[in-house]
């Protein structure tokens, strides 16, 4: 296990993670290390355990075995699943963020775009309405939304706009670690391309660490520094993204790479 210590310590480590649904394997024997500022992609087909792993890492799902450690902004190392519920919730609202595939799972659909963007700031203790609104406006522009629509509810936005709003809502208070589950899934390709460009820019500008789950190898090629390839709940191959995609060693990875349709 990697110890979270030394001059260049990782942000998150998971060791021996396993999760079973009854007799069925969600994921097992998974070790993950995430360093500050790096994007770790998790790929594999449907049912390979990607989302189960993400939910275990993000503290949303208790693993059957294994442990997840996180180094907080104050430098203390916490066992994510041993934290009292309020501490874990606070972590999720402040230092972490989750971007869901379906923006409706991450947004409050009944309140305005501005209120969505301001929520994490208010949770952190911001109380000055004008300041919160002005940061919400900045973020509307940052995620390439029309600032004139800050008072509209997300219902009135297209799918691509909702996804950009969700990303703005998560990044508004500069989290250190963001979990993304198929952030470009369900969007048409032109909207996907724009979102990918936006994510790349924000990840670099904010020096974000990201765990990115996707089945789309094109997305990880452009966004991820490192890859984990999952099959049947286990990591079958891992390494630098371009090494894994250009020189896949495992039979399953070779099959995945060979299955991408050329345009």
């Amino acid at each position: 296990m990697v110890v979270i210590d030394g001059p260049d310590p990782p942000l998150l480590t998971a060791a021996g993670l396993g999760k079973w649904y009854g007799g069925r394997v969600g994921c097992r024997n998974v070790d993950v290390v995430v360093w500050p500022g790096e994007v770790v992609g998790v790929v594999g087909e449907s049912g390979s355990g990607k989302t189960t792993l993400l939910r275990c890492l993000a503290g949303m799902l208790a693993p059957g075995v294994g442990v997840v450690h996180y180094r907080t902004g104050e430098g203390t190392v916490v066992d994510v699943h041993a934290l009292p519920e309020p501490r874990r919730r606070r972590l999720m609202r402040t230092e972490w963020g989750v971007v869901h595939q379906n923006p409706r799972d991450g947004l409050r659909m009944a309140v305005s775009a501005g209120a969505n963007l301001g929520e994490r700031l208010l949770a952190e203790g911001a109380r000055h309405y004008g300041a919160v609104r002005s940061r919400a406006l900045d973020w509307m522009a940052d995620v390439e939304l029309d600032t004139g629509r800050i008072d509209d509810r997300p219902h009135a936005f297209s799918g691509g706009m909702q996804q950009r709003l969700q990303i703005g809502r998560v990044l508004v208070n500069r989290p250190r670690l963001v979990f993304m589950d198929e952030p470009t899934g369900g969007l048409d390709v032109s909207v996907q391309a724009r979102l990918l460009d936006l994510l790349r820019r924000l990840v670099a500008e904010l020096d974000l660490a990201v765990v990115l789950v996707t089945h789309d190898l094109g997305v990880v090629r452009l966004l991820a520094d490192r890859l984990l390839v999952m099959r049947g709940g286990e990591v079958v191959e891992s390494g630098l993204t371009d090494q894994v995609l250009d020189d896949p060693q495992h039979g399953y990875t070779q099959m995945l790479v060979a299955s991408v349709l050329p345009v």
Binding site: D197, D225, D247, M255
Partner: protein
Amino acid sequence: MTVNLEARGLSKSFVLHAQGGIRLPVLCDFGLTVAAGECVALRGPSGAGKSTVLRLLYGNYRADSGTLRVAHGDGMVDLATAPPRLILAVRRQSIGHVSQFLRAVPRVPAEEVVAEPVRRCGVPTAEALDRARRLMARLNLPERLWRLAPATFSGGEQQRVNLARGLVAGHRTLLLDEPTAALDATNRAVVVDLIREVRAAGTAVVGIFHDQSVRHAVADRVVALAPFAETQGSAGSAPALG
């Protein structure tokens, strides 16, 4: 003599699991030492493994055995055994690879594609863009193209964007895969000048140059590669002609 790149005993084979685990050996016991300011050309027929060697030297393909030491910071890093994060740092700061084809994020303007490697080294955006634009101007890329995404560019234009992106960060070691293949005579001459300039500044270059005149103009040495079956992978070294 400062050595910027030193490969020893590199071997590589591909195992194709979908085809009954067939093993394709492509390189055996390959060695190469390149000093600062030196340019080595890889030569050989199609399929001899020239691009494979460049990809191995960049850490893009994983060597089965051997060492691959690259000058980085105050020392040398063995890319064959370095952890992924260290390989990324070496690529950011010390070694560049210009592939045959440009691979860019859709819809990102050419000048940002070119400036990105500089920005990733921590240079402010304005300065990075300035360096990118100067290099694009040098490579005769018309200014009206700079703000456009390269996906719609011609082959030669894309290749120059790719070259500019590869050269802009001023890496100490450069790997060039057919950098002039899609270029006309004028732009070939520009690329030859650029390669000579980076060499004069101390960059070590390993390249594949199909154009004989380009090869003679930039390289001091030629390393000949033959298809694996003919030679069992031995690579000879000969002085460049002319």
